[in-house]
């Protein structure tokens, strides 16, 4: 009967047959739904509500060596600040143990004559000790206390005989694209890259490694289907699953968490599709090389998931890393995708950012598929 159908039609029919079978299988397996629907919602929810760089308040131990009117007004300034919760004591040793135990973020000591010292222009009239085991928080506590001290001093100096020199140069910062500097606005777009990496690389690696592990891949190869047709047929459903999950994530981010989206959806779809191809290519390569689900899972976590988290500017700054690690980051697809996502969500269609990202992703995708083609052929010979 095949005699009356042209070869290209037969090809399409074969591919479509595999697509249909794989789609049903993916649909029935709860783990695909978990990865494509539940995981994105959990991640977006966490980045939307919980996980944030924006501090709520710091707990600080305040030691007043001798109460004076000035120490009273400084204590009031500190306790009125929304950034600080204070505990007071006369002896600093009370708080030193708490700082070691990690119960407080810092200690502020007001010596008996701190106000006079401040006016004599001596440096460090008050002592501030912070918990350096968390440098980020330590920095913030120091910065906020510095600002509070400057404001307090300015207010106190009003009405004094010898006024303090007013601040000569004032810095007026403006954070573009994210004026409130909300960490949700840049963490949520970045997390979409993590979600698609898991669907593309991890889920695909597992699904195809299972075929190799069970020997069903060899069985399929004995049929008239050719290797490229088989792989396309296997990848199409996971590509669609990934695009669906991307749409769900973007909708949740914009509608539920109020993250702005200033670019165009057409461009987002294009870049996501190319990124998914790169991630699917990586998953395919991993499964072809390992041919074992356990090892495929471990390798894709180590080579796709962790790098997407670390080497993508998602949380950690690539520019600040040693050059060898910066070099590695160029091979990580998420690096390009996170950059485009942050630009499309917060800034808009900026071609000077998106075009290089798109080319980088296309190059990586081509590389993965070429390597897969080479290894598959060699493995079968």
């Amino acid at each position: 009967m095949n005699a009356n159908i042209s070869p290209s039609k037969q090809k399409l029919r074969r591919v479509f047959g595999i697509v249909r079978k794989e789609t049903r299988q993916a649909w029935r397996d709860p783990s695909s739904i978990l990865v494509a629907v539940v995981l994105p919602l959990i991640l977006l929810f966490l980045f939307g509500y919980g996980v944030t760089f924006d501090p709520r308040f710091f707990t600080v131990g305040l030691v007043v060596e001798q109460p004076t009117p000035e120490s009273g007004s400084f204590t009031a300034a500190l306790s009125h600040s929304p950034y600080f919760r204070i505990e007071t004591a006369r002896d600093r040793r009370t708080f030193e143990a708490a700082l070691v135990a990690g119960d407080i973020h810092g200690i502020v000591v007001l010596p008996a004559d701190f106000a006079e010292q401040a006016y004599r222009g001596e440096s460090a009239p008050i002592q501030v000790i912070v918990d350096g085991s968390d440098p980020n928080t330590a920095d913030l506590v120091g910065n906020y206390l510095g600002l509070l001290w400057a404001n307090w001093l300015e207010q106190e100096s009003v009405g004094r005989a010898q006024p303090l020199l007013p601040t000569a140069v004032e810095l007026q910062p403006q954070v573009w694209f994210n004026p409130e500097a909300s960490s949700r606005h840049y963490l949520v777009p970045g997390s979409i890259a993590i979600i698609l990496t898991m669907i593309g690389a991890l889920l695909t690696a597992l699904v195809i490694a299972r075929e190799w592990e069970r020997g069903t891949m060899e069985a399929l190869l004995a049929t008239p289907i050719e290797i490229p047709e088989l792989l396309v047929g296997k990848l199409v459903p996971y590509f669609l699953l990934g695009m669906g999950s991307m749409a769900l994530s973007v909708a949740t981010a914009v509608l539920l968490f109020g993250v702005p989206f200033r670019g165009s959806f057409a461009l987002l779809t294009l870049v996501s599709a190319v990124f998914l191809l790169a991630a699917l290519g990586q998953g395919l390569l991993i499964s072809t090389v390992t041919r074992n689900q356990l090892v495929a899972a471990q390798v894709s976590i180590l080579s796709a998931f962790l790098p997407a988290f670390y080497f993508s500017n998602f949380v950690f700054e690539i520019d600040s890393m040693p050059w060898a690690l910066q070099l590695i980051s160029y091979a990580v697809p998420a690096r390009y995708f996170v950059s485009t996502l942050q630009t499309l969500f917060l800034a808009g269609d900026i071609w000077s950012v998106i075009l290089p990202d798109l080319l980088g992703l296309a190059a990586i995708a081509t590389g993965f598929f070429t390597l897969t083609a080479i290894t598959t052929r060699r493995r079968l010979e």
Binding site: D29, S31, L43, G50, F58, A101, P173, E317, L325, I350
Partner: protein, 367 residues
């Protein structure tokens, strides 16, 4: 009974150690990852590019710009010639920050007026922008101090001393937290597929019809996983301490006690997820579905105190939160034993609950 358990433990250990791929992935890759990622987690910002638009020809303006040029943070400084160049420089991510001094900067300082300087930051990298803003604020504050005039003195500054890590060594804060997270990954890798793999291959039924009781199977699966994970974790610990030279100031015994209970809790969760799953694929996915939120809620990337109260409460049921607290405490702050104990007992509770649930599921899921 003990002989049966011992036989199972021996078999499991041999199976893992003899498999080349497992040996490589579980024993050798975690220390390697510690070495790589320890350098990736920097909470300071360096090597970034900034731009300066200086529209003032005065000496003070040049002086302020040279303060920025002298800062090590900025690898490249671009000089702009007009306001129109600011937006393209930031949008294209050529620079992360632009310092803009208006034409009347020096004149205002000479007149004793307040001179305003604009600092424009790229909000797509908000965290880096915030850190850079802190650096810039400090540079400007120091610049202000040099501008004394007449009899008036510039205001004094607060000088902060950081205990435990006075030079803000990035590795010192990165290694303890990364060690805790990688140890969790090892614990999951050795336990997660333990049951699911056998179930998929059909060998788990054979175990269940053998004279072994579910509790014995549980012990036989937990102990080898614990031994392998402890070996790998100890290698990472030695690497962090000796090679990366992170100080270990607290009690090593306390750290190992915490590590054993932590791994028991992690393996308990791993076995529980593994027994829930009917295929390896489900086990891996289920595990990641637990691991990713657990790491995010552990205070690893962002502080636990920043979360809303109910999420903070939830994170007390997360073993990773407790072990990160122990690691940071023991490595850098030399915490006393009672603080370590405060974090050990919740992990012990989690271990007991998940391990018993796992044993119960062995039977349930087969029928």
């Amino acid at each position: 009974m003990w002989r049966r358990i011992l036989a199972l433990i021996t078999k499991e250990l041999l199976a893992s150690v003899r498999d080349r791929q497992t040996r490589w992935v579980v024993l050798f890759s975690p220390p390697f990852l510690l070495l790589i990622y320890a350098f990736a987690i920097t909470q300071e910002v360096t090597n970034v590019s900034m731009a300066v638009l200086n529209q003032d020809l005065g000496r003070e303006a040049r002086e302020l710009v040279s303060r920025f040029e002298g800062a090590e943070t900025f690898e490249r400084i671009h000089y702009l010639t007009g306001v129109a160049e600011i937006a393209p420089a930031i949008e294209s991510q050529d620079v992360i920050m632009v310092l803009h001094l208006g034409p009347d900067f020096s004149r205002r300082i000479a007149a004793g007026e307040r001179a305003e300087v604009q600092l424009l930051l790229d909000g797509r990298r908000t965290n880096a922008a915030q850190i850079l803003l802190g650096y810039a604020t400090r540079i400007v504050a120091r610049f202000n101090e040099t501008l004394s005039k007449g009899g008036a003195r510039p205001p004094t500054r607060v000088i902060t001393r950081a205990w435990f890590n006075p030079n803000a060594e990035p590795l010192w804060s990165a290694v303890p937290a990364l060690f805790a997270v990688l140890t969790a990954m090892v614990g999951f890798m050795v336990s997660a597929l333990a049951v699911a793999r056998e179930r998929e291959l059909g060998t788990f039924e054979q175990l269940l019809v053998s004279p072994l009781q579910p509790v014995e199977i549980l012990v036989g699966k937990t102990v080898p996983a614990l031994l392998i994970a402890l070996t790998s974790a100890s290698a990472m610990l030695a690497l962090g301490w000796i090679v990366l030279d992170v100080p270990l100031r607290g009690s090593l015994i306390g750290l190992f006690a915490g590590m054993a209970v932590y791994l028991a809790a992690i393996i308990g969760i791993g076995l529980f997820i593994s027994s829930l799953a009917s295929t390896q694929q489900q086990a891996v996915i289920g595990l990641l579905l637990y691991l990713v939120p657990a790491v995010l809620l552990s205070g690893y990337a962002t502080p636990v105190e920043n979360m809303p109260n109910w999420l903070q409460w939830l994170s007390t049921t997360n073993p990773i939160t407790h072990f990160i607290a122990i690691c940071k405490g023991v490595f850098l702050r030399a915490v006393p034993a009672d603080v370590i104990l405060r974090h050990i007992w919740p992990m012990a509770l989690i271990a007991t609950t998940t391990l018993s649930a796992g044993a119960w599921l062995f039977r349930r899921r087969t029928t």
